[in-house]
């Protein structure tokens, strides 16, 4: 990989990268607008859209009432007649109120209309736990959305993806959901000053390794990378794959990796039963069975509504130590 020279790199955060992507999209295409609760005057509940109201005005940075179903549906309606809305649902927790619109309208209009109507809509939302906000505010339901034909589902875990996925999503003629993990907004680092749209649909190997494939996405990627470092010290060379796109899943990259490592652990912040990790494991069991030298491991959230106290929340969520243990377990025999 040839990198641009150092002087063209800038320091940014996940939050700023998304803001820059929105900013750019708004400048480039006047059909783009941002709509959601508190995106304007408040500046976005995670401060992603801070400053955009001043730049683009209240028509295009549109504060909505607390009416998740109606404003998501309105985004769909605006998309089918030519706009390119970015709808922000504060968090995945509240998206349950808009699920009917997403599943029964956004995902089906193209099909039900015999191909006449496409829905070029982007829905962004924060997901995940880790901030001690308890049972109703800590869901990781992106796996649910990944079940629905007609939707595309993205989970940017890096600054490049935070900067680049939105633009690609806006150019996609289909409804695209972007899940931003709440713990990533403050993540900082350097990216190319001219970073822009990135490919979607492909998983990325974030750390090459020979012994075991650790599969993660979004917020758990970084915990998994940490786990890989710990494993390296213990002589296990883990490959870390970032799914990036949750629907469609890039099975090919996963199969290729386990074709080399013969061992797999899937990490997912969703509750274990029926999480996205199940689909990943099922695909490996179907299509990669003969590559595997050991059972697949999964590290997921414990099946309990997320508790408030820090120590219990930490125990409920996937942590590097549990990932290390799972990798060791699948390597053991």
């Amino acid at each position: 990989m040839t990198r641009p020279p150092v002087e063209t790199r800038i320091r940014t955060s996940y939050r700023e990268a998304i803001r820059a992507a929105i900013f750019e999209a708004m400048l480039e295409d006047e059909r783009v607008f941002l709509m959601g609760e508190d995106v304007g005057r408040y500046g976005g509940c995670y401060a992603v859209s801070k400053g955009l109201l001043a730049e683009f005005g209240p028509e295009r940075i549109r504060d909505t009432p607390l009416s998740e179903s109606a404003f998501v549906g309105a985004g769909i309606g605006a998309a089918i007649v030519g706009m390119r809305p970015i709808v922000e649902i504060m968090t995945v927790n509240f998206s349950l109120l808009a699920l009917d619109q997403i599943v029964n309208n956004a995902a089906t209009l193209l099909h039900m209309s015999g191909g006449q109507i496409s829905v070029p809509l982007v829905i962004r939302m924060a997901t995940g736990a880790g901030r001690q906000v308890a049972a109703q505010h800590s869901h990781s339901l992106e796996g649910w959305y990944a079940h629905i034909p007609g939707l595309k589902v993205l989970a940017p875990a890096t600054l490049e993806d935070a900067r680049g996925m939105l633009g690609t999503a806006l150019r996609d003629p289909n409804p695209v959901l972007i899940f931003e993990h709440v713990l990533l907004y403050n993540m900082e680092g350097e990216i190319a000053a001219d970073a822009g749209a990135v490919e979607i649909g492909k998983a990325a190997i974030r750390r090459p390794g020979r012994d075991v494939t650790l599969i993660a996405y979004g917020g758990t990627l970084h915990k998994t990378l940490l786990a890989a470092e710990i494993l390296a010290k213990e002589g296990i060379d883990a490959e870390v794959v970032d799914l990036r796109t949750l629907r469609p899943l890039d099975t090919a990259t996963l199969l290729e990796s386990i074709g080399r490592t013969h061992h797999a652990v899937v990490v997912d912040e969703g509750w274990r039963s029926g999480s996205l990790s199940a689909e990943v494991a099922a695909r490996l069991a179907e299509e990669g069975f003969w590559s595997l030298d050991a059972p697949i491991g999964r590290v997921c959230s414990v099946e309990v509504p997320i508790p408030y106290p820090r120590h219990l929340e930490e125990a409920a969520l996937p942590q590097p130590a549990r990932i290390v243990a799972a990798a060791q377990a699948v390597m053991r025999r």
Binding site: S69, A70, F71, A78, I80, M83, N104, N105, G114, S118
Partner: protein, 331 residues
């Protein structure tokens, strides 16, 4: 005719003829559908519009080709009046490739973007947010268009009704809400499900100007719809039209109609929109018995042709099953 006084001047013979023709097109089309359902040419859920024809026929012609329509699963009438070719609708009912939705949707999902007909939504209340978004786009783009959104009395209880009306009102959107109040949602009477059964008053609680009209009177509906669309075009924001009507047939083919009396149905049938308008037109010597016969013949021919078209249509090959899940090119 109620409310027709101030409109008498416009009731030229050609207009009366046209209203009659359109109502008959719906009535006979729906009757044919019931027949075709019995012989299993049409499957799935079938909801017919018999008894409610005056609503679509009165309201829709006040729109221009640029305007848009969002409807429910009981939408054949709206589609026909909006100009979606009967052939394409009938082929859709059969599930044939030549159907307006390529056969994928069936009775509940009639789409025709060329006629700006945006479905066919089978989730009660599900079309309202969509219509709000379409109107929002028009407003943001300074397009002088109206989006007309049809829904039943049952939809009024859904949260989406409330959220959508509020959004439309806060944002002063160019949208016409048309509530087809036929007094029942499936088998549940409005009075059992709404604390305020005067539905148009609900719109006013969002500061949306609203009116209730006799939905069995095509002229009254037309007059009210004309005023409402004119107000929208004049920039006065959303308007709400409650059309009080009645469904003469069962909710769908599965409905044993245990929840209402035959007498009630018969009483309403006496006020049938076609029956009354026809009688009035004849009594006033605007239409003559020969006109009715000619119209019936014309409509019968159109329906016969539509059935033939649907019959001779093609089944989509199974090989293309996964088509239409994702779009390839940006619209």
């Amino acid at each position: 005719m109620t409310g027709s006084a101030d409109l008498k001047p416009h009731l030229a013979r050609s207009h009366v003829m046209d209203l009659m023709r359109q109502m008959l097109r719906i009535r006979r089309f729906e009757e044919k559908c019931i027949e075709l359902y019995a012989t299993e040419r049409i499957r799935g859920f079938l909801h017919v519009y018999i008894g409610e024809e005056a609503v679509a026929v009165g309201a829709l012609p006040t729109l221009t080709p640029d305007d848009a329509v969002v409807a429910t699963y009981r939408e054949h009438g709206q589609a026909l009046i909006r100009g979606v070719p009967m052939n394409a609708i009938m082929a859709e009912m059969y599930g044939k490739q030549e159907g307006c939705s390529g056969g994928r949707g069936g009775s509940m999902h009639i789409f025709d973007v060329a006629h700006r007909f945006y479905g066919g939504n089978a989730i009660v209340g599900g079309g309202l947010p969509l219509a709000v978004g379409m109107a929002l786009a028009d407003k943001m783009c300074n397009r002088r268009r109206v989006t007309a959104c049809f829904f039943g009395d049952g939809a009024v209880a859904e949260g989406e009704f409330h959220e959508s009306l509020n959004l439309a009102a806060v944002w002063k959107l160019p949208i016409l809400f048309v509530c087809e109040n036929n007094l029942y949602a499936m088998g549940t009477a409005l009075e059992l499900t709404e604390s305020e059964t005067d539905l148009h008053l609900k719109a006013q609680s969002y500061r949306i100007s609203s009116v209730a009209v006799d939905g069995m009177d095509v002229v009254a509906v037309e007059a009210a719809a004309r005023r409402a669309t004119a107000a929208i075009r004049a920039g006065e924001g959303p308007q709400f039209l409650e059309c009080r009507t009645y469904r003469f047939r069962a909710h769908s083919a599965f409905d044993p109609e245990l929840y209402r009396s035959k007498t009630e149905v018969e009483e309403w049938k006496k006020r049938g929109p076609i029956e009354r308008f026809g009688a009035w037109a004849e009594a006033n010597a605007i239409l003559h018995p020969t006109d009715f016969a000619a119209l019936e013949q014309e409509v019968a021919a159109e329906i016969e042709a539509a059935v033939a078209f649907a019959e001779s249509g093609n089944w989509e090959p199974v090989e293309t099953l996964t088509r239409g899940v994702y779009a390839e090119v940006a619209p």
